[in-house]
């Protein structure tokens, strides 16, 4: 076989060499025999799964034939292969419904990224120097195995830590099985904007530790407390599709959308009514609305069902939350509160959402529970136009389902750091796409802590602030090159289990993370090998998905082979049944009295609230390495390739700051610099900055660009979950010089007045 290939290759080489020698390096390369038969110019569409954010949209990948430079038999050459050309929404998939956001489409650039790691690497220079040398896969895996077995034989399997990006479904399962059988603690998902608080609250309120699915399409009145549900929060594509229906999808009905936040977000921009409230008082406002509804008999407490028990004194009509009191603490006029409550009650089904900043305060749990209570009072839980909890796929109870660590990732990372500082750092660390160095406040000293760990191996595809510390790198396939499965947490009403075969062959000498784990397990032998008996990841997937093959209603179960085939063609299995929501067990648990937020920093020294927010294009910075994302203008600021600081015109005047000035934002824990952007859409006592830029090492496109607001955040946690309270920091701002804004837009007013020319 090898030999035949070689001969053919040789023959072709001669031909090509003779044909074209026009200086173009590609023409000097030998041509390999195509490994797949493709019709040139004809596009093939293959289902896949979007991994750019945790929403888990279903993709259709447009694959066409093209020439790629690859390495075969250790020799570089050209090969005709199927190449992913475009990502589109999978029309059958219940979450994306044929649609896809910009971030999802930029997923294509992950596969073709010039700085993607192309082969296993072993550190050759000092740690953090980024000096690596290429090693073979056998070598690399052998090394990792020896390290792990050393841990095991030293009887410290427990000191193996695993930090990962959000991973669900069978890959998660595999990870956990691996760690469990090895004797290590479960993997820690490190997300800056983790929704642990809301998951915990939903567990408390409804017995479902997961993010809800919102049935916007059938809602007539929507009030969102800080939830950027059209932009970056929860399942944006599914929510946007539903939003479109809410607005114009139903003849004669146009749902109203009210947004409560301190800075006009991309979502807030679409609101009919935009209400700035004091930070961290959203829960109080929600209960204020509930108060009015009960008091004015717009809804009977009874309607709230068991949720009525959520809040003490519910039956007493929430006496503490009378409009004047609520106005006092939230700053929202009592009259407005009354009107909103009436409107909500008058236009069922009405729906309340909470997410983002309101939950990133010391009182986040209170806020979440309060809004849950409001939803319950509105009687929309599990009902059309309300909130649903998407059933999770049956199998793998152990680790599958929503990645609800009992605690938020922040505190878990915190623990690691604690251990490190107490001198008993983990002996080994596995990294998979997690970048805690970038997504944690610098005052936490994550990097310093990680440096104390003697051995770090990364399974990721890129070198970033965290993986630059790795001693060994075993680069993963890109998602489009891998077998994938996913169990979306929310976005659909029925259960969804997505599956995708590789859409294209690997471009580089990489290996899928699950296969690496299986190989390592195999070589480790013993319990680990026993716990992970599969030869390859797709074998595991097949076993799992065949188990879903049950008679659905009247139609019989399919033949195993056929089922496996159809699942791959459709991109997963799902049912459209809405009754799947399951019973809501609610424990009686409530915040006692009105609970306000606490902030880090005294108001007189740090007059501004600091609001970091997920960048529309770069999210928490994990997409900053994609030129398409860097050059797509932010919807609000229209900025590209850079960081900006949003500040209210009046506040700016007071400080003598004008558009484009370089300003310094200082908290008790550090300072960052970026260019000022004067924006009418932010409260005068707020400073907002997008997260995403400010990478130290993250490919040629993101490195050394902009500033990272997370760095200066106060390391305070939401007590109940230990998630980072990233909205609880106070800052001061000062002008330091002339900055540079890279904006796509010129004017900001549609009809500029004489005063505001440009």
């Amino acid at each position: 076989m090898e030999r035949r290939d070689f001969l053919k290759a040789a023959a072709l080489t001669g031909a090509t060499a003779a044909l074209d020698n026009c200086g173009n390096p590609e023409h000097q390369l030998i041509r390999f025999i195509p490994e797949e038969d493709l019709v040139p110019g004809v596009a093939e569409y293959k289902p896949s799964i979007c991994t750019m954010c945790p929403a888990g949209c279903g993709l259709m990948v447009r694959v066409m034939e093209g020439d790629a430079e690859v390495i075969r038999h250790g020799e570089p050459g050209l090969i005709k292969m199927g190449l992913a050309k475009k990502l589109e929404g999978n029309p059958n998939h219940p979450i994306s419904q044929g649609k896809l956001c910009g971030r999802g489409q930029a997923g294509l650039q992950v596969t073709y990224h010039p700085d993607r790691l192309r082969h296993p690497l072993k550190r050759s220079g000092p740690r953090g120097s980024g000096q690596y040398q290429e090693v073979s896969w056998d070598e690399a895996i052998k090394e990792l195995v020896s390290r792990l077995s050393a841990l095991r034989s030293a009887n410290q399997p427990g000191s193996l830590a695993f930090l990962t990006q959000t991973v669900r479904g069978q890959r998660r399962e595999l990870m956990e099985k691996f760690l469990k059988s090895f004797g290590a603690p479960p993997a820690v998902t490190t997300e800056l904007f983790d929704d642990a608080v809301l998951r915990r609250a939903n567990e408390v309120s409804f017995g479902r530790p997961q993010l809800p699915t919102f049935d916007l399409a059938r809602a007539n009145y929507v009030i969102a407390f800080g939830a950027d549900f059209l932009g970056t929060w929860n399942s944006p594509v599914a929510q946007s599709v539903a939003y479109g229906e809410m607005r114009q999808g139903r003849a004669g009905v146009r749902g109203k959308f009210v947004m409560v936040e301190a800075r006009v977000s991309q979502t807030g921009a679409s609101a009919d009514e935009w209400i700035p409230g004091r930070p961290g008082t959203e829960g109080i406002l929600a209960l204020g609305l509930a108060h009015v509804m009960i008091e004015q008999k717009l809804r009977r407490a009874g309607d709230a069902g068991h949720a009525g028990s959520l809040i003490e004194g519910w039956s007493k009509g929430l006496p503490d939350y009378a409009p004047p009191a609520v106005e006092a603490s939230t700053g929202v006029p009592a009259a407005k509160i009354i009107r909103l409550a009436r409107e909500m009650a008058a236009h069922p089904p009405s729906l309340a959402m909470v997410g983002g900043a309101p939950l990133a305060h010391s009182n986040g749990m209170f806020t979440a529970l309060a809004v849950n209570g409001l939803n319950a009072l509105l009687g929309n839980v599990g009902n059309p136009g309300g909130i649903f909890f998407q059933p999770q796929p049956p199998s793998g109870k152990a680790a599958s389902g929503p990645p609800t660590s009992p605690k938020g990732s922040f505190s878990r990372v915190g623990e690691l750091i604690q251990q490190a500082q107490n001198g008993n750092a983990p002996k080994g660390l596995l990294l998979y796409g997690a970048n805690p160095v970038f997504t944690s406040p610098s005052s936490l000293g994550v990097r310093e802590a990680l440096e104390k760990i003697p051995y770090i191996a990364s399974l990721g595809s890129f070198i970033d602030e965290t993986s630059i510390l790795a001693d060994l790198i075993l680069p993963d396939h890109s998602p489009l090159e891998s077998w994938l499965d996913d169990a979306p947490e929310s976005g659909a009403i029925g259960p969804v289990a997505s599956l995708s075969a590789p859409a294209m062959r690997p471009l580089h000498n990489t290996r899928a993370m699950p296969d690496v784990l299986l190989e390592v397990a195999h070589q480790l032998g013993g319990e680990v090998a026993a716990a992970l008996p599969w030869k390859s990841y797709d074998e595991l997937l097949r076993v799992t998905f065949e188990s879903y093959n049950k008679p659905q209603g009247k139609n019989q179960a399919a033949k195993p082979g056929d089922f496996w085939k159809t699942v791959q063609e459709r991109g997963g299995v799902w049912s459209s049944s809405e009754t799947a929501s399951g019973a809501l067990a609610g424990a009686s648990h409530a915040p006692a009295a009105m609970l306000g937020p606490e902030f880090d920093g005294a108001e007189k020294d740090f007059p501004f609230h600091f609001l970091p927010y997920a960048s529309q294009m770069l999210l928490d910075g994990s997409l900053a390495h994609l030129p398409w994302m860097q050059e797509t203008p932010d919807p609000i600021s229209t900025a590209m390739w850079s960081t900006w600081v949003e500040i209210n015109p009046k506040a700016a005047d007071g400080l003598g700051i004008v558009q484009g000035d370089l300003v310094e934002i200082a908290s008790r824990h550090g300072k960052v610099q970026a260019s000022a952007l004067i924006s009418p859409g932010i409260a005068p006592d707020f400073i907002a900055m997008p997260v995403g830029q400010g990478h130290e090492y993250f490919t040629r496109y993101a490195s050394g660009r902009g500033a990272n607001p997370v760095a200066i955040l106060a390391p305070v946690a939401v007590p109940e979950t230990g998630s980072l309270a990233w909205a609880a920091t106070r800052v001061k701002i000062s002008k330091v010089g002339k900055g540079k804004l890279v904006l796509f837009a010129g004017g900001i007013r549609e009809h500029p007045q004489e005063g505001e020319l440009r």
């Binding site: 837009a745 010129g746 900001i748 549609e750 500029p752 020319l757 440009r758």
Partner: protein
């Protein structure tokens, strides 16, 4: 004022042609190197792409088209003025016409280059030219750029011929005065001119017709240049006043250019006896008129926009009045009116050559700014405020602008090296007393020693 014999005249006016000074070589060297720098800058632009300019979206035109309009404007000095003066048979024109017409020729050449070098792919400029290509695609005759091609082509041809006609007898003169290679050269250039009545009659008739034809052509050329803007739905471009506005501006800057050139020649070629203060005085009066005409036009343009108060146009309007372009705008007003007006209106200043020349310099600068202010503010403030932009030139654009001026000087110097810069025979015509008996005019004047009237008849007397 000295009276001169024909021999002296020949001697004076042929000197620059026959004798080459060191100053000449230095000037050619300096200007030449600047022009070379400009060509280098253009090469740099072609090699790297036009991105080396400061242009952007939405300001797709800036220095390039400003220079184009500016130079086409300058070109309106010569031919148009001299044609009008010829038709009016203003005697004082005689020493002036040729150096005026030369300006036209060279300004047109330089101006005409800019639409080519401003292209994204300059090597394909010939696609604008109507020729039967194998693609069988003709230019888009609806496009003002195609109109430009025809207008400038016609004007260039016309002004060259108009300039060349009266050069023939002077070439004959040089032919008789020189020897060696020059003899051969000028024998050819003279086309075998002898000066029989037949030849004189045809020549004068042809020049008369040309003078009549070239005036509407000149007017049409700058009108069409203005239509490059007026045809596009861009705020403050899409205006009917642009035609006359541009023509007036062109003549305005043209006369200024002519005055500067004349002052230059007067000094360098020591033509003090031929280019007299009275010429500058008269041209100064013309400049004054055009100055007022220009003020009238810019005022009515601004007034109609401001009164109409259409939002998109007002955005542009305010950028120039108070916004980012205000400094340039008011500088322009200073250069085009506030400084030159008193200099030209007050006789004491106007009759000093320096006064007129200073006024001319400010006008030339002001008119360049005017073209810039027509193009950039409008483009940077089109209808949708989201697309507002701004513009900064790069060294490449500046170099090319400077080089274009150097090119003008260089061509001018070289021309005056090969051709008598004052039309000698026309000068003589002005000199000889018309026959008493056969005189057609009612007035018969003796040559009075000085003053404007002297220019008419008695600049010099033939020795008898």
């Amino acid at each position: 004022m000295s009276e001169k014999t024909i021999a002296q005249v020949n001697e004076d006016l042929l000197r620059p042609v026959l004798r080459t000074t060191r100053r000449f070589w230095i000037a050619v060297l300096l200007l030449g190197s600047v022009v070379a720098a400009g060509i280098g800058a253009f090469g740099y632009q072609v090699w790297n792409g036009i991105g080396v300019w400061g242009i952007n979206r939405p300001v797709f035109w800036a220095f390039d088209i400003t220079n184009f309009v500016f130079w086409i404007g300058i070109s309106h000095a010569g031919t148009l003025i001299s044609a009008i003066l010829r038709i009016a048979d203003a005697g004082w024109r005689r020493p002036v016409t040729r150096c005026a017409e030369v300006i036209t020729l060279f300004a047109l050449m330089i101006g005409g280059i800019f639409p080519i070098i401003h292209l994204g792919r300059p090597w394909l400029f010939f696609w604008m030219i109507p020729y039967p290509s194998e693609r069988q695609i003709w230019p888009q005759f609806r496009s003002p750029l195609a109109w430009d091609f025809f207008a400038i082509g016609t004007y260039l041809t016309g002004s060259f011929i108009f300039l060349a006609y009266p050069m023939i007898p002077d070439f004959a003169l040089v032919r008789d005065k020189v020897t060696g290679w020059r003899k051969k050269l000028y024998t050819v250039l003279a086309l075998g001119w002898r000066g029989t009545p037949r030849q004189w009659h045809r020549l004068e008739k042809a020049m008369h017709i040309m003078a009549i034809v070239i005036i509407p052509v000149a007017v049409s050329v700058h009108t069409i240049v203005s239509w490059d803007f007026a045809m596009a739905p861009v705020p403050m471009w899409h205006s009917t006043i642009f035609g006359p506005y541009f023509v007036a501006g062109a003549i305005f800057s043209g006369i200024a250019g002519l005055i500067i050139a004349m002052a230059f020649l007067r000094k360098v070629l020591s033509l003090e006896d031929y280019l007299l203060p009275v010429h500058f005085d008269n041209l100064g009066k013309l400049l004054l008129t055009m100055c007022l005409v220009w003020v009238y036009f810019i005022f009515s343009e601004r007034l109609t926009v401001w009164y109409g108060n259409e939002s998109a146009e007002m955005a542009v309007f305010w950028t120039t009045q108070r916004g980012p372009f205000a400094p340039l705008f008011w500088t322009m007003v200073f250069c085009n009116f506030i400084i030159p007006f008193p200099l030209l209106a007050i006789k004491r200043f106007r009759t000093t050559i320096t006064g007129v020349v200073i006024a001319s310099w400010t006008v030339v600068i002001g008119m360049w700014l005017e073209r810039y202010l027509i193009i950039v503010p409008s483009l940077s403030h089109k209808y949708l405020p989201y697309t507002y932009g701004s513009y900064r030139p790069t060294w490449v654009e500046v170099t090319i602008l400077v080089a274009s001026n150097a090119a003008m000087g260089l061509l001018y110097i070289l021309f005056s090296k090969f051709v008598p810069i004052v039309s000698i025979w026309e000068l003589k015509v002005g000199s000889h007393k018309p026959p008493v008996v056969h005189h057609r005019l009612s007035v018969v004047r003796d040559s009075s020693p000085t003053g404007a009237s002297a220019i008419d008849d008695g600049l010099l007397t033939t020795d008898q």
